[in-house]
């Protein structure tokens, strides 16, 4: 390096940097540690410090013993799993039609899917209030047609309303990687399969699905973790009987000012989502490519 002068510039290229590469990685990592890792560590620390002082596992015992926590845990997990399953099925079907049974405007639809991704999730719940709310579109149609005083749709404040909103909002997250994968699939394969006598369901099962597995796995893992962590949709539903772990964290910290309790729920939530995400990544890497 010392011999590298302007006359022999080739030696001074990127292969002999003045500082080792890891030094350049230090500033961003230090920044991340300051604004993310250190705060996260404090949450873990505070989860062991009850309001009465000292260090104990008392907050954990209290939280685990409460009915509200166990119910929130169960609601969070089954809602996330059901939403992911719904998104995968729906996203696969819709992407299949856009890619392989193209219609005029299919391109506009896939552009619309991209736009959809840039909107916040709570808009869906807001819209569902107008569609299926007590005085919304569906119930209005019902009362207009049948003359009844009230419509039959009142599932919005139940977990089913949250499920519908999550499937609606997160399906595009599955469609996008799928559409990208489908665009690289050689259509000659489909023509060959079809000319050999395979019908559409069989082509989907034996040609398209294997190609789509990695995209399904990555989209599914992202949706699973986003559903586990979803807050806006549940908050806007405004239902007392639908409490998920993120809602519980918010309720304990902001509404009840019970910080140790909130930190305990937060630690559990982080463990579940990071754990499931990691597990899913490992499994999908094995199953997929």
């Amino acid at each position: 390096m010392a011999s590298a002068t302007l006359s022999t510039p080739a030696k001074a290229g990127i292969r002999a940097p003045a500082v080792p590469a890891w030094v350049w990685a230090l500033p961003p990592v230090a920044l991340l540690a300051l604004v993310f890792l250190y705060p996260l560590a404090l949450v873990v620390q505070q989860s062991f410090q009850p309001d009465t002082g000292g260090t104990s596992i008392r907050p954990y015992a209290d939280v685990f013993a409460s009915e509200a926590f166990r119910e929130a845990l169960w609601t969070t997990v089954w809602l996330a799993l059901a939403s992911t399953a719904g998104c995968l099925v729906l996203g696969f079907v819709l992407a299949l039609v856009i890619a392989f049974v193209p219609f005029p405007g299919a391109r506009a639809v896939s552009r619309f899917v991209d736009v959809f991704l840039s909107f916040p999730s709570f808009l869906i719940t807001l819209a569902l209030l107008f569609i299926y709310g007590t005085v919304g579109m569906a119930n209005g149609l019902w009362t207009d047609v049948t003359g009844a005083a009230e419509g039959p749709f009142r599932f919005l404040t139940t977990p089913w309303g949250v499920l519908l909103a999550e499937i609606t909002y997160f399906t595009p997250f599955v469609m996008r990687p799928l559409l990208a994968a489908f665009s690289q699939l050689d259509t000659a394969q489909l023509e060959a399969a079809s000319s050999l006598g395979a019908r559409a369901p069989r082509i989907v099962r034996q040609v398209i699905l294997p190609e789509a597995l990695p995209a399904l796995a990555s989209g599914g893992s992202l949706v699973l973790v986003l559903c586990l962590n979803e807050f806006g949709i549940v908050l806007f539903t405004g239902a007392k009987d639908v409490t998920t772990l993120p809602m519980l964290v918010y309720g304990k910290a902001i509404l009840e000012s019970d910080y140790p309790g909130a930190c305990v729920v937060a630690v559990v939530n982080v463990l579940i989502s990071v754990g499931l995400y990691g597990l899913y990544r490992v499994v999908s890497r094995r199953a997929g490519a």
Binding site: R15, W24, L32, F103, V115, S118, A127, A266, S273
Partner: protein, 265 residues
């Protein structure tokens, strides 16, 4: 390709529309329709009005719009700088340390944003750094949340980058700084602007972490939409939501224009 008979094609398209329209197109149309209405007790909204927009573009709503724009702009620029730096530094590392770096910077996606909010609230409500009650705590939270996305998209772009360009530049005598500034960053520019757009959109719609730590004088649009709908002002809330969507789309459009201009270079 997949379905050949005309009849079957129409059946598939009908099924597609039946699924797609009510699930994806209807919600956006409904919010748009509600924003121009005063009442919705039948199939269609009634009482056309623009009063919701008058409420949504003055006073606290206007302030919330500027708050959101400033927060999203600051957070996405900070996230872009930090994420790009981290991605470039990670690309120069050995395989194992690069994996560690990837995991570290993707972690904020896997951690619930409510927990990110709680963590930042806990950390910056106590010495040595007291930020609770200032706008910076909101901006920091947004930056943490979107940096992960900036890092991911920039590092994906770096792996697609053809190393021949930087090698050619280096062999012609360009130093590392010159290679970075004159070769790598211009080649990455399309992905950088795409990442900036993504970060901006995410920050504009961020609600979870913001709900945990926003001070009264720094209320972004999503919080205001929640406040409106929570007290029953659904139609004003819809108008503010339309303003939020329009502002996001306008900025995304502007950013995509930068991208197309860059790709002709």
């Amino acid at each position: 390709m997949l379905v050949h008979s005309r009849k079957a094609k129409w059946a598939v398209w009908a099924l597609f529309l039946l699924l797609f329209l009510p699930l994806f197109a209807l919600p956006l149309l409904v919010v748009l329709g509600a924003s121009f209405a005063t009442n919705w007790s039948s199939v269609l909204p009634s009482g056309p009005t623009t009063a919701n927009y008058e409420a949504a573009t003055r006073g606290e709503a206007l302030q919330a719009l500027t708050t959101s724009l400033v927060t999203a702009l600051t957070a996405s620029l900070l996230a872009l700088a930090a994420g790009t730096w981290a991605a470039l530094a990670a690309a120069a590392l050995k395989r194992r340390s690069r994996k560690v770096m990837d995991a570290l910077f993707v972690l904020p996606v896997a951690v619930p944003s409510v927990v990110v909010g709680l963590a930042i609230l806990v950390a910056f409500s106590q010495p040595p750094v007291l930020l609770n009650g200032t706008r910076w705590i909101v901006i920091i939270a947004h930056t943490v949340l979107v940096t992960a996305f900036a890092y991911q998209s920039v590092s994906a772009a770096i792996t697609r980058l053809d190393p021949a360009y930087e090698q050619a530049a280096a062999s012609l005598g360009a130093g590392p700084a010159q290679v970075l500034w004159r070769v790598k960053l211009p080649l990455l520019l399309p992905s950088l602007t795409a990442a900036a757009g993504l970060c901006f959109a995410l920050s504009m719609g961020e609600l979870s972490a913001t709900m945990m730590l926003y001070p009264p004088d720094w209320t972004p649009l999503p919080v205001l939409i929640h406040a409106s709908t929570d007290r029953g002002a659904l139609f004003t809330g819809s108008a503010i939501a339309v303003v939020l969507m329009a502002a996001t789309l306008l900025v995304l459009l502007a950013v995509s224009r930068i991208r197309t201009r860059a790709s002709y270079r």
